[in-house]
């Protein structure tokens, strides 16, 4: 989607509730997904997703001045809300996996499910030990499937900086997992 498309969508959303509903439909899953893996519980993920879209709605007028893609703008709003959430709560996230509504991937590889439930848990726990920027990078990369350039737009860094941060993040994650006795090679 080009910036021109974004501008057209935003202009339409300012005037037409249906156009804003289209924007919502386009991004709600991605924003929820991003927030879920940053806060690790369904209740707060829903709350912060709602806040993200309300904030987007109330700041629609200022969107044009920012010069970044709409998706990056939404991710930044979500990022700020998540950062505030962590600061206000001053706590480490708690996993509530039983409440998860996972996309139907597991049925494709049943043996993976059996062998990797623990690995997944360890990986997520390891990720949570990293600093927030690294956690954000991993979520954007793996959960959202974004490129380094797209991640750079969201995190306000260059593509090269993201590449470098990614390399360091994987090393740090390996170290964390090694501490737990999980060696993924």
């Amino acid at each position: 989607m080009t910036e021109q498309d974004d501008r057209i969508r935003i202009e339409a959303a300012k005037r037409d509730p249906k156009a804003f509903a289209e924007l919502y439909e386009l991004y709600v899953d991605r924003i929820y997904n991003y927030i879920y893996y940053r806060v690790s519980n369904v209740h707060d993920a829903e709350d912060l997703t709602s806040r993200t879209f309300y904030r987007a709605l109330s700041h629609l007028q200022t969107y044009e001045d920012r010069g970044i893609p709409l998706s990056a703008w939404l991710y930044r709003i979500a990022h700020n809300l998540v950062a505030n959430w962590h600061r206000d709560r001053g706590r480490r996230p708690v996993v509530a996996l039983d409440e998860l509504v996972l996309k139907n991937r597991d049925s494709e590889c049943p043996e993976d499910v059996a062998e990797s439930q623990d690995s997944r848990r360890f990986l997520r726990e390891g990720m949570r030990k990293l600093d927030p920027a690294r956690q954000e990078l991993l979520v954007l990369k793996f959960s959202q499937g974004l490129s380094n350039a797209e991640i750079g737009e969201i995190m306000g860094r260059s593509e090269g900086a993201i590449k470098s941060l990614y390399h360091r993040t994987l090393l740090a994650l390996r170290k964390e997992l090694a501490k737990k006795g999980l060696d993924i090679e």
Partner: protein, 119 residues
């Protein structure tokens, strides 16, 4: 329109997930030797660990409805505010209820004392 644009992304995610699964399984059976082209096992594992999640349909619908009201309100010149979350609403409601009960109890005691002193 939203659905038509979301569909390719979902399809791509699905293909990517399937490929990731396939590589994982082939590596397990060792027919595919790891070389510089094969994905890092840690990356594959992270992709699986951070598999996509979707919000519940009830949440999606409720938020869509509320946002729609908010957009309409905004067009009428009303300010857009996020409603207090359910949990905070419960706490506020219970607090208000307790306060009302305490005031009612005080009034009853006060009246009872007043009637006793008059009697």
């Amino acid at each position: 329109m939203a659905h038509t644009q979301e569909a390719p992304r979902r399809a791509w995610c699905r293909v990517r997930d399937l490929l990731s699964c396939l590589v994982h399984r082939l590596q397990g059976a060792e027919p595919l030797s790891r070389n510089s082209q094969s994905p890092d096992p840690l990356e594959s594992a992270m992709r699986i660990a951070l598999c996509p999640v979707v919000p519940s349909s009830s949440f999606r619908e409720a938020l869509r409805r509320n946002l729609s009201f908010a957009v309409q309100g905004r067009m009428l010149g009303l300010s857009v505010e996020y409603a207090k979350p359910f949990r905070q609403g419960i706490i506020l409601g219970v607090s208000a209820g307790l306060l009302a009960a305490a005031i009612a109890a005080l009034v009853v005691v006060f009246r009872w004392r007043l009637s006793n002193s008059e009697g």
